[in-house]
């Protein structure tokens, strides 16, 4: 077979950054090649250099970054040596890029239609008279309803998914040959993610474009890409077709990533690398203490949370919506469920479904509007948050937060953070005793004791997550609410933390309410699952039932939207 000249050929690419700590090699001797019409995924965890590679190709590196070795050839032209004017001509016209966080990627004070026109005008694609029409046409192609009206919209008036469509329209307006998509769906709901990825694939296939998809999600990459390039710490460790990587990964790192990715059919233990001692421990535990479903610990009955809507009255004159809306907004609209002792219950839903509001009410951090929350027989819903903070009950319900960085006081060392609940809610103890307890907790969560005197900015994401967990279990609570505790972590770190959470739950006899949008993670950790949407419970039941044979259409849609590569044998 004749070897066609690749559309994009990256050879030996090495990029260095000059930082305060000296020169750092972000990317080293990277080879990536993309043929015409191909979709290639670059996969890696944080720090792998996958984004830096694409920035180097587009030559939009930070001022501190430089290509020190290697070359990037695009249809024969050497991009690494091209002048800025030549690059500007290529950007948007031949090679386009879309980024994470779509709303921030658009100019907030400029109409979206005009932003598309700017690109068209820059690359002289269309006569000025036809600019607006072409922009509307692009909006239509990315499946935005009522494109002529939406032309006049500002980004803040559009949802996240719609903003990403506009960004795609911007990128494809001048019919480039190559599209680079840098984590385009991170932060979007799973159903939106599917819609956006399907759109990208459809449009690029239609136009015979090549695509580079950069992501940390191996499942996503395997589903939508022909070939995968796996990167670790600035180097390429493996390049193969998606099928090969998925079914028989060669490199140990790829194997580790594959194992760590939550997927149907895998148990928690399977996520860990084969040689991990924790895996062996897990096996013993599972047999010994298998969730004794006892009395209900937490009972929620017809819980409601209402928020007043902002600014009515004169404002409605200027509203663009023809129909008036009610004065209050129901974030949680009468839900009822229970968590039994020793159980792990998952609360899933997309953004805006009310799961976080529910968990915050259960935590007694905000007031509820109506309903009853019973904990171990006591009605805690009626107690105000300020009062609850002073009751002994406070220490029995604790929380692990989503963002490990945000949930640690930047001015407290790790040990001070962990000691906080002990000092405030625990029995009076001497300094040494408190310190000893913190060290014991650190050991329990697998945090090296010598890290206890560090500040959060000196710890890695996984280490910070462990500090948060140690703090939550410090007073042996009965119930822990976990709000997307691993969402901000790399997949390999996530695997270890999930196993840790399971181990702790069983050894300390706790119950979990696990709030998440990631059904695969919930499947691994939870005995029962509750699906929420628009403030209501759509479906609830044992995990295997709900996720294998869902009753509700919405649940079915959610499951279908999860990327699953189909490699038939």
């Amino acid at each position: 077979m004749v070897e066609a000249v690749p559309l994009l050929d990256v050879r030996d690419l090495t990029v260095e950054f000059s930082t305060r700590r000296g020169v750092v090699r972000a990317v080293e001797r990277v080879d990536v090649s993309i043929a015409k019409g191909e979709t290639v995924g670059i996969v890696g965890e944080s720090g792998s250099g996958k984004s830096v590679t694409s920035y180097a190709v587009m030559r939009i590196l930070d001022r501190a970054g430089k290509i020190v070795e290697g070359a990037v050839h695009f249809t024969g032209l050497d991009l690494s040596a091209a002048s800025e004017d030549e690059m500007r001509d290529l950007r948007g016209r031949e090679i386009s890029m879309i980024f994470q966080n779509p709303r921030a990627a658009l100019n907030p004070i400029r109409k979206v239609g005009r932003q598309i026109e700017d690109v068209l005008k820059q690359h002289a694609q269309v006569d000025s008279a036809a600019l607006a029409d072409k922009a509307v046409e692009m909006l239509d192609q990315v499946r935005i309803a009522r494109p002529r009206e939406r032309y006049h919209s500002y980004p803040f008036e559009l949802s996240g998914g719609m903003c990403q469509r506009v960004v795609i329209a911007l990128a494809l307006a001048c019919r480039p040959q190559l599209l680079i998509a840098d984590e385009p769906t991170t932060g979007l709901d799973v159903t939106t993610q599917k819609a956006v990825m399907d759109l990208i694939v459809e449009l690029t296939r239609q136009r015979g474009m090549s695509t580079i998809l950069i992501t940390h999600d191996l499942g996503l990459a395997a589903t939508y890409c022909d070939r995968l390039v796996v990167m670790e710490k600035g180097r390429v460790v493996e390049t193969a077709s998606s099928r090969e990587i998925f079914i028989a990964p060669a490199h140990p790192y790829t194997r580790k990533l594959m194992r760590a990715t939550p997927r149907p059919g895998a148990s928690l233990r399977d996520l860990l690398p084969e040689d991990n001692p924790a895996a062996a421990r897990m096996a013993d535990l599972e047999v010994a203490t298998n969730g004794k479903a006892g009395m209900p610990l937490l009972v929620v009955d017809k819980l409601v949370k209402e928020y007043p809507r902002k600014g009515r009255g004169l404002g409605s004159f200027f509203q663009r919506k023809p129909t008036p809306e009610p004065d209050t907004f129901r974030a949680v609209d009468g839900i009822s469920f229970a968590v039994n002792r020793g159980e792990s219950v998952g609360l899933v839903g997309e953004s805006g479904c009310g799961k976080s509001t529910t968990s915050t009410m259960i935590m007694r951090l905000i007031e509820m509007t109506e309903g009853v929350i019973t904990f171990d027989g006591e009605d805690i819903g009626a107690i105000s948050p300020q009062r609850f903070a002073r009751l002994p009950l406070r220490k029995r319900i604790q929380m692990v937060f989503q963002d490990p960085t945000d949930s640690l006081n930047p001015r407290f060392t790790a040990v001070r953070a962990i000691a906080d609940p002990i000092l405030r809610l625990g029995d009076a103890m001497e300094r040494k005793a408190v310190r000893a307890r913190c060290e014991a907790l650190a050991r329990q969560v697998g945090l090296p004791v010598d890290l206890l005197d560090r500040f959060p900015h000196q710890l890695s994401g996984g280490q910070k997550a462990r500090v948060g967990i140690a703090r939550a279990i410090a007073l042996n609570p009965d119930l822990i609410v976990l709000d997307e505790p691993t969402a901000a972590l790399d997949v390999s770190v996530q695997a270890v933390v999930l196993n840790l959470l399971q181990e702790l739950k069983q050894s300390l006899g706790m119950s979990y309410l696990f709030v998440s949008h990631d059904l695969n993670v919930v499947r691994l950790l939870c005995d029962r699952v509750i699906v929420m949407r628009a403030g209501r419970i759509v479906e609830q039941g044992p995990t295997e039932h709900v996720l294998v044979s869902p009753q509700a259409q919405y649940t079915r849609d959610l499951i279908a939207a999860i990327p699953h590569p189909r490699f038939g044998r």
């Binding site: 950054f17 935590m363 604790q398």
Partner: protein
């Protein structure tokens, strides 16, 4: 923009004074200007403390025979219309102006800083009241308000300090409020509530330590405004009374002579003013860099 995960540095001393000093020294080396500002600051403090004991002439002694002499070896900065040595007066004035600056800033920090932090953290009525007070003060052109306060209460140093503090209140409160507001719903604040911390304890023990660095930066900048304020009031005639040596009033006394060519009477005190304020501003900027490199201006 690009996500660089730098390798964990193991073995580095992680906390405490040692690390802070190392970091500070690193920044100062990186930024010679801040080091210079700091040295100048030390010089000003020394002049304020020891100046009056070291000056060659009595700042209040007049010698009409030697009036209006230009700078010479005998009188480094020349003499003014009453024959007083300008150099001595400028050095002695350092103490008064510095005192005014430090005291007003301390006052404004307590009044404005605490009020602003409480307003930003608690919201509700606290926020509304503090906001109203700040708005009312800001409805006046600030210098004019200072003029009015001093005129009404009398030209004393205490009143100048009070007026300066009142006039700087809104700005300080606004900065404090914004910082507290941002952190109000942060994860670690929620976690503190879960750990049984009451609201006031959270405010003082968790939030305040986090915003102190920014407050210190603001204090340094406010010291500059305070001195300019006091000097401006004296220039109008509403500040300290003659024959007190204060930079502003010295410029006022020398202003008339500028037009006729005896520039030194107003120039040196004015230059001293400028250098002092410049020093505080540079220091504030440098502190800001040490505290939060993302906010470099």
């Amino acid at each position: 923009m690009t996500n660089l995960a730098l390798p964990r540095e193991d073995g580095a001393p992680s906390s405490g004074l040692g690390a802070a000093l190392r970091h500070a020294r690193y920044i100062l080396r990186d930024n010679a200007v801040t080091g210079f500002a700091f040295a100048l600051f030390v010089l000003i403090v020394l002049a304020a403390l020891f100046g009056p004991y070291l000056v060659p002439y009595d700042p209040l002694a007049s010698d009409t025979a030697a009036a209006l002499k230009p700078p010479s070896l005998a009188h480094w900065f020349g003499t003014d219309q009453l024959g007083r040595d300008v150099f001595s007066r400028v050095i002695v004035a350092t103490r008064l102006d510095f005192l005014i600056a430090v005291t007003s800033v301390a006052l404004v920090f307590f009044m404005g800083g605490l009020a602003g932090v409480a307003a930003g953290f608690f919201g509700g009525w606290t926020d509304r009241i503090v906001g109203r007070v700040a708005d009312t003060v800001m409805a006046f052109p600030l210098f004019v308000l200072a003029m009015g306060i001093v005129a009404a209460l009398g030209n004393t140093v205490q009143n100048i300090i009070l007026a300066t503090a009142i006039v700087n209140f809104p700005l300080y409160a606004r900065v404090a409020r914004a910082e507290a507001n941002v952190r109000r719903e942060a994860g670690f604040v929620q976690a503190a509530r879960l750990s049984g911390n009451g609201e006031v304890r959270i405010l003082l023990g968790q939030i305040l330590p986090n915003i102190m660095p920014i407050m210190v930066v603001q204090m340094s900048l406010t010291m500059g405004y305070a001195i300019l304020n006091a000097a401006g009031l004296s220039f109008i005639g509403l500040g300290v009374r003659p024959p007190t040596a204060e930079w502003g009033i010295m410029v006022a006394e020398g202003a008339a002579f500028m037009v006729s060519g005896e520039w030194w009477i107003a120039f040196f005190p004015g230059a001293a003013l400028m250098i002092a304020v410049f020093c505080f501003n540079l220091l504030g900027d440098g502190l800001r860099d040490i505290v939060d490199p993302q906010r470099r201006t």
